[in-house]
């Protein structure tokens, strides 16, 4: 995969035809792609037209403080799928986990790809970057920070895959021992597309790449850098259990009648109402289901700081701190303080009473 000797100027259409993919297959691919990107079916011809002429881009994939879950998510399918097709069609010039090359050869491949496609390649990052100590995470002796800065320089755009790269992720969770930050906190002068999720839905990753290939631009992003087509609506708004929420029918435990009847999981800590992702419609495992459908509340993994939200099983309306303790301590302190303050005030009154000078009829006029 690191070795792409020729065909840099080939279009995607050329690649597909070379591989014996029929036009009909391509149409099928475009139809499912449109569906995946939540584009109206009327866009299918446009997508087909654009994709056919799309140039193969060069992609460099850097993995920093991460668990490889994002790569796993992406490469999970072991048969020829449409996502794989897309990936086959792009030139993944550098990927720590997937590339065969290692050591100097690997780094050389990265340098070569950067040089060759300077200003045009896509940089995909998964994992967060430790700022606490550069030694916390290095590749070939190069700190994550340095490698990111060096590679980002010539990138056309950066895709932060997974919540770690997008928002700091688990490494960023309190107390954040490594000083982990997201790509966006370091790189300010490049377009960054955040594809958060822990892991992100694989078709979302490919969807973003497809969009880039199809339209040559980055998709429209929301206020925290996520493509609106996938993250435009909350889990809650697309959830098939929404009617139960609206009706006020909730599962109280994981094994009660409500849980069996598929009632809303809000009380069990579902973060669907504040989580923006495509799970409820795109679903996982090629459309099989998504967490809520299998009876588990949404964790909110595509949102920043989801791990610091006070517990996965605490309802959104619950405070994240132990308020009952706060109330007890505060009340005890306040009673003591109140008595002290009250005593001072009572003393003030007593001294007013003590300094009372009797009013007689002669005192009524000034």
């Amino acid at each position: 995969m690191t070795d792409i000797p020729e065909g840099k100027d080939e279009t995607l259409g050329d690649v597909l035809r070379q591989r014996g993919i029929s036009r009909r297959s391509f149409l099928k691919f475009c139809a499912t792609t449109a569906s995946m990107m939540a584009l109206p079916p009327s866009m299918i011809p446009t997508i087909a037209h654009a994709l056919e002429r799309a140039k193969k881009p060069s992609v460099i994939w850097l993995s920093f403080q991460e668990c490889t879950g994002c790569t796993e998510s992406l490469t999970r399918a072991h048969s020829v799928t449409i996502e794989n097709l897309i990936f086959d069609s792009i030139s993944l010039d550098y990927h720590h986990t997937l590339q065969a090359a290692s050591g100097h050869a690997a780094e050389e491949a990265r340098m070569a790809a950067m040089e060759e496609n300077y200003g045009k390649y896509l940089l995909v990052v998964d994992g967060s970057i430790p700022l606490g100590n550069p030694g916390y995470s290095t590749i070939a002796g190069i700190s994550n920070y340095d490698m990111l800065m060096e590679t980002a320089k010539g990138a056309a755009a950066i895709i932060s895959v997974g919540t770690c790269a997008a928002y700091g992720g688990i490494p960023h969770a309190k107390p954040n021992p490594t000083g982990a930050v997201s790509v966006g906190e370091i790189i300010k002068d490049k377009p960054i597309i955040n594809v958060p999720g822990c892991p992100p839905i694989p078709v979302v990753i490919t969807g973003v790449l497809t969009h880039f290939l199809t339209f040559g631009t980055i998709p429209e992003l929301d206020h925290i850098g996520r493509p609106k087509v996938f993250y435009g609506q909350s889990i809650h708004d697309r959830c098939y259990r929404r009617t139960f929420y609206d009706k006020g029918q909730f599962a109280e435990t994981f094994d009660d009648e409500g849980a069996r009847k598929g009632w809303c999981l809000y009380k069990l800590g579902c973060k669907g109402p504040t989580t923006y992702n495509a799970c409820a419609t795109t679903k996982w495992n090629n459309g099989t289901s998504f967490p809520i459908e299998s009876g588990h509340p949404c964790l909110g993994c595509s949102e920043p700081e989801f791990w610091d939200g006070g517990g996965f099983y605490k309802a959104l309306s619950m405070p994240t701190e132990d308020i009952s303790k706060t109330v007890i301590y505060t009340a005890a302190g306040a009673v003591a303080a109140g008595v002290a303050i009250g005593a001072i005030q009572k003393g003030r009154k007593n001294s007013a009473v003590a300094s009372h000078s009797k009013t007689t009829i002669d005192d009524l006029e000034k």
Partner: protein, 219 residues
Amino acid sequence: MNEIDFLNWVRGPGFQIAVIIFVAGIIIRLVEILMLGRKPNLAEAKGSAMRSGLRTIFSRSIPEKSTFKRSTFVIVTGFIFHIGLLITIFFFTPHILLFKDVSGLSWPALPTPIVDAVTVVTIIALFLVLAHRMSNTVLRFLTNYEDILVWLVTILPLITGYFAFHRVGATAPTLLALHILSVELLLVLFPFTKLMHAFTIVLARWYNGAISGYRGVQS
């Protein structure tokens, strides 16, 4: 600070700070009032101060007929928004979860659509209250900045709550965070404004009832 940070803050430290100020403020004020004390009444009693005091705590909620006729608007809108606040605060599932989390106590919720409708009615009633306050000569004369501030911090949680529930105007975490923040604002201002009447009303009515009842009049 992104919106989820914001939400986590209002659900966490923000809420804690608000609760501390609220609880400490309420208790200090109540202790402050009670510690001033009251001299025992040396006159021979004609009725029971205790019984009358207890009764007045409840009976003062029902206006006497001629008073109702004279202050109909204030009483009707007052009833609507107070009952509305009671329902929206204490009978909405997410709120009950909050109370359960803090106190361990739980009670049945009202169906969400009902709470939703009550919210709208309450908001309308509060707007009418303000309009009346601004148009009525007496109330305009009586009104000070605190009255407006209290009105604002009372209606804000209703409005933000309504928007958060219907998810319009901003992203859901922002709406929810704003709603919680508006409640925190209410909690923080509570002990230092006339909102305090929610607690001192028991004392005031008790005293009034006791003073009258001691003389043989049910007030």
